[in-house]
């Protein structure tokens, strides 16, 4: 009986409290009805400080973000920073942090505040993270996501809230398909169509193989890339002997490798992630019929020190396609130094430089469109910001010279193929010099 009462008492208390709030806040219900102007985008507390007569804050179709004279420019991210894929997002976040440091921590004399959400590399996580970001109207831009699934589910929410979204590591081709892209989306990462084509070209032209097998792990990234490779490989006259799939949590790949061996391919392409990728590399050497004659090739999903630790000596001589770090501009060496100093280690994944560029594209666009009030308040039109990012042309970034096309692809995609050497395995470092580049 006692517990029963206490429960209702609690409910009652809560209701009374909320009722009191509601009674005092009739206006609170209205914002959704208001026209999509500045009023619809409530501003930070200090925005109310009246601007002197004569200055007209800008208006914008999507609303204006107002940053008070002492408030920071709030930059949001939406990366996977925990779990098995955490390295991907942490790598990107570090890239942005270095970019902010290089700006002295400031944009237009405002401090930069950088925080965001772990989107968990899943559709649900992406949508929840997007909702949390979209609910906070102090954000000026969202950098992310890490995985394509996150942005597919969360992108519409961010887009509707007026944000510009720039991803450093989404590579799924159809994100920038005009039929599927949502407004405000850009990326500095390469489109996987490019990587698949480069890998196929390398196999056919450089390695001179005619038959290949593919393995993906049931992730959209790996499946897309394996298919892109297979299409291009067959188009170029090669033959795909088998298209296999595994699960990323598998550990015993010898059966599937034995099955592949029965078709006698000259090469296996497995654009999957570190754990399974390193096990396949190792076990391929132990499966009779594959041995040393079959060429192994993985993609940027395995381009990480942990891969060499996991695969050991079996990785020596194999190939990996990845962004071409040698094509990166001179600033990259300095970036690596700063990274080492700040985080005590080398980058943990492949897209840090792309994240650095993503922030700088945003920063350049912001400097172009932000209007400064006489008291130092910043006004940023959200549509204007999108337009400015879209207009990015010949921007000198770390990853190359970036130009955004109408579909939001801003990358200057240099993909190269690397060969793993003994010292890569011994010291667990990614190869620094490409083995082959398209056009060689």
């Amino acid at each position: 009986m006692k517990a029963f009462n206490a429960k209702y008492v609690l409910v009652l208390l809560a209701i009374v409290a909320i009722a009191a709030l509601m009674a005092c806040a009739p206006a609170a219900v209205q914002p959704t009805a208001a026209p999509p102007t500045t009023a619809a985008q409530p501003t930070a507390a200090t925005a109310a400080t009246a601007a002197p007569a004569g200055f007209q804050p800008p208006t914008d179709a999507l609303g204006v973000v107002t940053i008070g004279p002492n408030d920071p420019v709030h930059v949001g991210y939406m990366f996977v920073t925990s779990g098995a894929d955490g390295a991907l997002g942490i790598d990107s976040r570090r890239g942005v942090e270095i970019a902010i440091d290089d700006k002295g921590g400031k944009l237009l004399d405002h401090q930069v505040k950088f925080d965001g959400q772990d989107s968990g590399c899943s559709a649900e996580g992406g949508q929840a993270a997007a909702a949390k970001l979209a609910a906070d109207n102090t954000f000026t831009v969202v950098l992310g996501s890490s995985c394509s699934s996150e942005i597919r589910a969360g992108g519409p929410t961010l887009s509707k809230a007026g944000f510009t979204v720039i991803s450093p590591s989404n590579t799924a081709p159809d994100l920038t398909d005009p039929a599927k892209r949502f407004p405000g989306y850009f990326r500095t990462a390469h489109n996987d169509k490019v990587q698949g084509a480069v890998a196929a070209k390398f196999a056919l032209e450089k390695l001179g193989v005619k038959t290949a097998a593919t393995i993906h792990d049931g992730s959209p990234y790996a499946e897309g890339l394996a298919n892109a490779f297979a299409e291009n490989f067959e188009k170029g006259g090669g033959k795909i002997t088998s298209r296999e799939a595994v699960s990323p949590t598998d550990t015993d790949f010898k059966p599937v490798l034995t099955k592949i061996a029965a078709d006698k391919p000259e090469m296996i392409f497995y654009p999957i992630f570190v754990a399974a990728g390193s096990l396949i590399t190792k076990q391929a050497k132990e499966v009779p019929g594959l041995g040393d004659s079959v060429k192994l090739m993985a993609a940027d999903g395995t381009f990480s020190p942990d891969f060499y630790k996991g695969a050991g000596d079996a990785a020596v001589g194999m190939f990996q396609s990845s962004p071409d770090f040698s094509a990166f501009t001179g600033g990259y060496a300095k970036f690596l130094e700063e990274h080492q100093a700040k985080f005590g280690e080398k980058p943990v994944s492949a897209f840090h430089a792309h994240a650095y560029d993503a922030f700088n594209i945003f920063a350049a666009a912001l400097e172009k469109v932000a209007v400064k009030g006489p008291d130092g308040t910043l006004y940023i039109g959200q549509q204007a910001l999108r337009d400015a990012v879209a207009a990015t042309k010949d921007f000198p970034g770390l990853t190359g010279t970036l130009t955004c096309d109408p579909n939001g692809d801003c990358a200057d995609p240099h993909i190269a193929v690397y060969q793993v050497g003994e010292d890569n395995v011994k010291n667990a470092v990614v190869p620094s010099q490409p083995f082959w580049k398209p056009g060689q």
Binding site: N5, K7, V9, V11, L12, L13, I15, I18, A19, L21, M22, C24, A25, A27, A28, V29, P31, T32, P42, A45, S82, Q117, D118, G120, S122, A123, E124, Q127, A128, A129, A131, K132, A134, A135, D136, N137, S149, R152, A153, P156, T157, K160, A161, A179, K180, H216, G218, S219, P220, A222, E223, G224, R243, A245
Partner: protein, 587 residues
């Protein structure tokens, strides 16, 4: 059975010896907990979040709470009653606990290589532990804080209960406001007139000191007031004529309904998103509750029906070019199909497992759930089901020109779904079928002997549970707009089961509460997602040890468990050992 223990402890000398050894024991436990929290990374991760701006962060608070807990439990168990004993023994327990942290600090300082094993034993952690003073200077405040918080813990135990309760409430409110600062701040932004109050309470980086103190005092006073006057209010309510009581009751219900209807407008985008997620789990929980709670059939593959509902809607409504053969239909046309196919799957699963009982059933249903996920993931059926890339471009439902576009609108859809499901569940629970399920749950053989048709009764349970799962999946698909096979993994089945059990098996309000606690709370604390599953697991264990009937138990079930618990006390091993075990688990 404790007669011998008390007999031994009769002489005062022995009493105090025993009390000190109890203090030592809980000090060791508290220290182990603190050490674990530090090494597992929680202290460092939580230290980034200030509860009160630049005064105290959550990570340090965790350590202090370990000391405090050690002191509190030690005094509670040792039976110390004089102020000196309480202070000294509490402080001793806290001190012992803090020694662990001091030792950790020394180890991190002296052996940097420790980090290759315990990755969180980092210089950053050392800085937090030693209050940025380093070793050895920082060891003094560590041990001092142990002594102080241990003593405070001891003091709390001897406060008058009413005072203690108010203090704990007040501290908890401050903690909750500190924890949820960013959410509360963002939500409060919507209400401009509250700006002065908001900036009074919150700084950029946690609560302001004055804000925290004000909150603490206000809650304390409110709690005291309620404790003094609450009984009067309740008594007055009971003295009202029945008619007026009813009227008040209806008023309350009407008010709650009205509140539910305007909730998204009040709380904004993110809370609405969380509510929608909670709603999906309430629907799933209500469905699984029928299977597990009502009929007693343990289903570990419930996610299968969720997947079938979601994929049906996706296939029938998607405008994606890859999935052309059935797509493009409106949500409302697809919905009945989603439920239908889920029910069909429920029956198809049900038939082969009719004769399988208990844990065999659990593993077979688990397998079924996995089979469904693997099939939708497979390359083999990719041309039909989309494979690993899922199905995208699933449109939102429309009513006329009203689009259930975002969480604030979808909220109403899920609210309607939950309302419907709850209504059905309540009605069916007290029906003939519901009673048949009850009999089935108690004893299958007896139920059969009573003339209950096991086949149709079991199949009805599977079918109805599947229907709710399908409905939830259907809404999930249109909410997410794209579905991947990876969304339908075993973890989800287990989550739903946990919602049902934590809420209280067989209890419908329990499911709602369970979903709010297990789905809502972790969503609100996304920053700490790294520790989410660990805390989730610990919560499940502690819950089962302390309150196995669930948060809001069904009445008959509560009685049942209560009885078995008493029997446990009757026939179990030494009760004191059990309590030790529970304390350990709580850490």
């Amino acid at each position: 059975m404790n007669a011998s223990l008390t007999a031994q402890a009769n002489s005062p000398n022995q009493t105090s010896m025993r009390a000190w050894s109890v203090a030592l024991r809980y000090g060791l436990i508290g220290g182990a907990v603190a050490l674990f929290l530090a090494l597992v990374g929680m202290v460092e991760a939580f230290a980034t979040r200030y509860v009160i701006a630049n005064v105290i962060d959550l990570g340090t608070l965790l350590l202090f709470l370990s000391y405090l807990g050690a002191g509190y439990v030690a005094i509670k168990r040792s039976g110390a009653r004089t102020p000196f004993e309480i202070l000294s023994q509490g402080a001793f327990a806290g001190f012992i606990a803090s020694v662990f942290i001091a030792l950790l600090a020394v180890v991190i300082y002296a052996i940097p290589g420790i980090r290759t094993i315990f990755i969180n034993a980092s210089p950053a952690l050392l800085a937090i532990l030693t209050f940025k003073m380093g070793v050895p200077a920082g060891l003094v405040p560590i041990l001092l804080s142990g002594v102080i918080f241990g003593a405070i813990g001891g003091l709390i135990e001897i406060l008058p209960p009413s005072l203690r309760r108010s203090l704990i409430y007040a501290a908890m409110v401050v903690l909750v406001f500190g924890l949820m600062q960013d959410l509360l701040r963002v939500t409060l932004q919507k209400w401009k007139f509250l700006d002065p109050a908001t900036s009074f309470t919150f700084s950029n980086n946690g609560l302001t000191i004055v804000g925290a103190v004000t909150l603490f005092i206000l809650t304390f006073l409110a709690s005291q007031l309620w404790q003094r006057r609450g009984n009067e209010a309740r008594a007055r309510y009971r003295q009202l004529p029945t008619r007026q009581q009813q009227l008040l009751g209806w008023g309350l219900i009407a008010f709650s309904v009205a509140l539910l209807l305007v909730l998204p407008l009040l709380v904004g985008l993110f809370f609405s998103e969380v509510l929608v997620n909670v709603g999906l789990f309430i629907l799933l929980g209500l469905g699984l509750n029928i299977v597990v709670g009502f009929a007693g059939l343990l289903d570990l593959g419930y996610v299968a029906f969720y997947a079938i509902g979601a994929y049906t809607v996706a296939l029938l409504t998607s405008t994606s070019l890859e999935i052309v053969y059935a797509g493009g239909n409106p949500f409302w046309l697809a919905l009945p199909f989603a439920v239908f196919f889920a029910v069909l799957a429920g029956v198809i699963l049900g038939i082969p497992v009719l004769k399988i009982r208990g844990d065999y059933l659990a593993i077979v249903t688990l397998g079924f759930g996995e089979i469904i996920r693997l099939i939708v993931l497979s390359d083999f059926l990719k041309p039909i089901l989309g494979g690993s890339r899922g199905i995208e471009l699933i449109p939102k439902p429309f009513i006329g020109s009203f689009e259930f576009a975002g969480p604030e609108e979808l909220y109403y859809l899920i609210l309607a779904g939950c309302g419907l499901a709850a209504f059905v569940a309540i009605r069916v629970k007290d029906s003939r079928l519901g009673r048949a399920w009850g009999a089935l749950r108690e004893d299958e053989d007896v139920a059969e002997a009573m003339g209950i048709n096991l086949v149709s009764t079991k199949l009805m349970a599977f079918a109805m549970g599947a229907a709710f799962g399908g409905l939830s999946g259907a809404i999930f698909a249109s909410k997410l707009a794209i579905i991947y096979p990876s969304s339908f993994n075993l973890l989800l089945s287990i989550n739903v089961l946990a919602v049902v059990i934590i809420g209280g098996m067989g209890s419908i309000p329990g499911v709602v509460l369970g979903a709010l606690v297990l789905v809502g709370l972790p969503e609100l604390l996304r920053e700490f997602s790294d520790y989410r599953l660990m805390l989730y697991g610990a919560a499940l264990v502690i819950m089962m040890l302390v309150r196995p009937e669930g948060l809001w138990p069904e009445k008959s079930r509560q009685r049942e468990l209560h009885e078995s618990q008493q029997e446990e006390i009757l026939s179990g091993p030494l009760a004191a050992d059990e309590e030790v075990a529970r304390e350990g688990a709580a850490g």
